[in-house]
């Protein structure tokens, strides 16, 4: 633990000093490892690891930092160069708005509404999309029955469903959930179908020889074999669901972060617009992170799959 940072500093000159300690916990476990490698090689590898991690962090900071810098400079000097920063709030104004808004309850109500809508729409999309996808993938007749309709409906963006949804459903709440569902449904369905099709047929035969009946084959072989693709569908579906949700909330909603953002524009509360955007981004990030985490938990074997998860 002690000699590592010393070595690390002269081994990794481009590392900014404030970044080096952060990578230390990563490198630390390698130090007490019983190994036959000469100490210099060990130190070398620690230094390499630290250097790689530090570089990753540095680039991350540069990436996000330049975004903020651009925003700050643009609003501070009110740049006007094709795009106009005149009405754009400064980062500081947005921060102040955030502090104010986070202290009041309304904002959380909006977030809660959006989350409830996305979870309902997404869950319904999984419950219908995944089983239907498995059946379409496995049975030709089911495929021939459903796919023509799917092919017609699929290219229609969820947003285009807004007027129809308002007519179809009794409440605006139901129509927003429906639009969110539409957004998530097709990616989940089609990826599941693809998962079944790309399954190695020998697994199906192995399952049959081991005495699996048709329904059990679905549960014990076809479903787990398609899971990686289903999760791809969930990731894509979650992204599209957010797009659809925000659009629906902006057009027909009451409550929700999309509604909040649009409302802010109508009320000429510009910092709130940016705050709404950031909230949408963060919520989307959390949702896709949750799906990724669920994938790691549900499919532990993928950690060892050739060419699988890194």
């Amino acid at each position: 633990m002690q000699p590592a940072p010393i070595y690390l500093i002269d081994k990794a000159p481009p590392t900014p000093p404030e970044k080096a300690p952060r990578s230390q916990p990563e490198a630390a476990p390698a130090a007490p490892q019983p190994t036959v490698r000469p100490p210099s090689a060990l130190l070398q590898s620690i230094a390499d690891l630290a250097q790689r991690k530090a570089l990753t962090m540095l680039l991350g900071v540069i990436s996000v930092g330049s975004l903020f810098l651009f925003w700050y400079v643009g609003t501070r000097y009110q740049l006007e160069f094709y795009i106009r920063f005149k009405n754009i709030p400064t980062p500081w104004a947005v921060y102040e708005e955030a502090v104010k808004v986070l202290a009041s309850g309304d904002f959380y109500v909006n977030v809660a509404y959006s989350l409830r809508r996305i979870l309902s729409g997404f869950l319904i999309a999984i419950l219908i999309g995944a089983p239907l996808g498995l059946l379409i993938g496995q049975y030709r007749r089911v495929r021939e029955m459903f796919m023509p309709a799917v092919e017609i409906l699929r290219p229609i963006p969820a947003i285009a469903w807004v007027p129809m949804a308002i007519m179809l459903w009794p409440t605006s709440e139901a129509s927003i959930v429906f639009i969110t569902f539409i957004g998530a449904f097709f990616p989940i369905l089609l990826n599941t179908v693809h998962g079944v099709h790309s399954m190695d047929g020998v697994l199906l035969r192995a399952g049959k020889c081991l005495g699996a009946s048709e329904p059990r084959l679905f549960w014990h072989v076809i479903l787990p074999a398609s899971l990686p693709q289903i999760f791809t569908g969930l990731t894509v579906g979650m992204g599209v669901a957010w797009v659809s949700l925000i659009a629906a909330e902006m057009i027909s909603g009451q409550y929700g972060v999309g509604y909040y953002t649009w409302e802010a524009y109508s009320l000429v509360n510009y910092p709130a617009i940016v705050l709404g955007m950031i909230t949408i981004g963060v919520l989307g990030l959390i949702c896709s992170g949750a799906i990724r985490l669920a994938g790691v938990i549900v499919m532990p074997w993928l950690a060892f799959a050739p060419g699988g998860r890194k």
Partner: protein, 286 residues
């Protein structure tokens, strides 16, 4: 003791035709073949002569166009756990641990959890793989995966074991080890084995009897009893009896491969002769 008398495979006058019209292929014609209970029988022949088709009929994946195949007198109508199958490709379920893979057949049969766990452990112990019971298949070498494939096929106590070039993808070293492990397992479980290979040495080393098939449409060209005593040892592969038999089989296969090439040259296309690279004989899936 009645177990000893089970596992009789009888194929009578089997014919297999794939496709129809101009795409029609007669893969197998008039094949009679018997595997006695507890016998180890190999099937060899040039690529595309219908070996996999025959094995897939026994496994229940393909229906014969004519003739019938029975196991212990009962016609095969579909796949089932009374016949264990080991595939050439790795066919372990990647999402299950090694032990869960071995348990799969017992689980489908409704065997209680604790009981199937202990059976799986026992079998894995016999194959020297107990230490890997909680690994995932993707963590193991090809030879280990294939050993587990065999163990998994044996877990439901089938009467017959059907193997389609199970060691085809393994290197020579691993192959030799696998052959010994297979012989041990076979003797311990006393089940009938129908074994397909394109490795002639392997067929002689393992088998009681060998069927040699003609090129397509595949018929039985010769049926040869291997005169070597058991247990077989590596040293036996140097004896004149072994070498002579291998040479005789090589000549038979070469004749057929050449005739297959001749007919394919005439029909305007040479494909996959010599080394067995033919499609995996998945006909009409049942």
């Amino acid at each position: 003791m009645s177990e000893l008398n089970r596992g009789l495979i009888e194929a009578r006058d089997i014919g297999v035709v794939f496709g129809s019209g101009s795409a029609k292929v007669q893969a197998v014609r008039n094949v009679d073949l018997t595997v006695q209970p507890g016998e180890f029988v190999s099937l060899i022949g040039p690529s595309g002569c219908g070996k996999s088709s025959l094995l897939n009929i026994a496994a229940g994946f393909v229906r014969p166009t004519s003739g019938a195949l029975t196991v212990d007198g009962v016609p095969v109508t579909g796949p089932g756990s009374d016949r264990g199958v080991v595939f050439q490709q790795y066919s372990l379920f990647p999402w299950l641990s090694v032990r869960k893979n071995v348990e799969f057949g017992l689980r489908m049969a409704g065997v209680a959890k604790s009981q199937r766990e202990s059976s799986a452990r026992t079998l894995l112990g016999l194959a020297g793989l107990l230490a890997f019971e909680n690994h995932y298949p993707d963590q193991l070498s090809g030879g280990m995966k294939q050993r587990i494939g065999i163990v998994r096929a044996l877990a439901t106590s089938p009467q017959v074991l059907l193997m389609d070039e199970p060691f085809g993808a393994l290197d020579t070293q691993t192959r030799t080890v696998m052959q010994e492990i297979l012989t041990n397992m076979w003797q311990r479980f006393r089940i009938s084995v129908l074994f397909i290979t394109h490795d002639i040495d392997e067929s002689v080393f393992l088998s009681d009897r060998i069927y040699v098939m003609t090129s397509r449409p595949g018929r039985i060209k010769a049926e040869i009893t291997v005169p070597l005593p058991r247990p077989r040892t590596a040293a036996m592969t140097q004896t004149p009896a072994f070498v002579d038999l291998v040479n005789r089989l090589k000549t038979l296969i070469r004749e057929e491969s050449l005739s297959a090439m001749g007919s394919e040259l005439q029909s305007g296309g040479v494909s996959g002769f010599g080394i067995d690279v033919g499609p995996e004989g998945v006909g009409k899936l049942i």
